[in-house]
Symmetry: C2
């Protein structure tokens, strides 16, 4: 067996630096492909291919506008990554234990307020 497809999940899609650059660029808002081509200094077909991968894992959405295609970030697809890596935060954050207590406290208060 070979390596898993980059479209297998967000972890694989985001392993490629160019694709992280694209997401970072889209964090500022919707952008057409040519914008990304200039920003990344990469050939247009390559950018389109990276965008395809990001679309397949749901990290970006597209919208047509005349002859342009506007890509927009959909960070929701990155949640699994965040959820997974969050559990290792203890390893480097010495104040995590402290923060943990505070967050737990916050959660209690919030439930008390019944704001959901």
């Amino acid at each position: 067996m070979a390596r898993a497809a980059t479209t297998a999940d967000a972890f694989n899609a985001v392993a490629e630096p160019r694709r992280r650059q694209i997401l970072d660029a889209l964090a500022g808002g919707e952008r057409p492909v040519n914008d990304l081509v200039r920003l990344l200094d990469l050939a247009q077909p390559q950018v389109s291919k990276h965008l395809r991968v990001l679309r397949e894992v749901g990290a970006v959405d597209v919208r047509d506008k005349g002859r342009q295609r506007l890509y927009r970030l959909n960070g929701h697809a990155l949640k699994p990554i965040h959820d997974w890596v969050k559990n290792y935060e203890r390893s480097w954050s010495e104040r995590f234990d402290q923060l943990d207590v505070v967050l737990e406290d916050l959660k209690q208060k919030e439930e008390g307020n019944g704001s959901e």
Copy 2:
């Protein structure tokens, strides 16, 4: 050019599900290779190869004990991933703005206490 090496950085290393499983297993503490072989239900050479990748990106450390090799998690290598994905948390956490304010407040107090 082909895909970047899995040993290029933590992002690539962690794109492989088996390697995430290994890290999760090591989260409980130091373990010999055979433990992982049983837990992952994977052949020993494959486990050793995955461990090599994780070692090369600094996600695990090794220690010799007789004929065993005890692997230990080093979550510090995962910090770059956390730092990157953290910026997208807004996308799915509706209460992020609220939390943001609280954290900012905490930061202020902390600096006031001069606890570093």
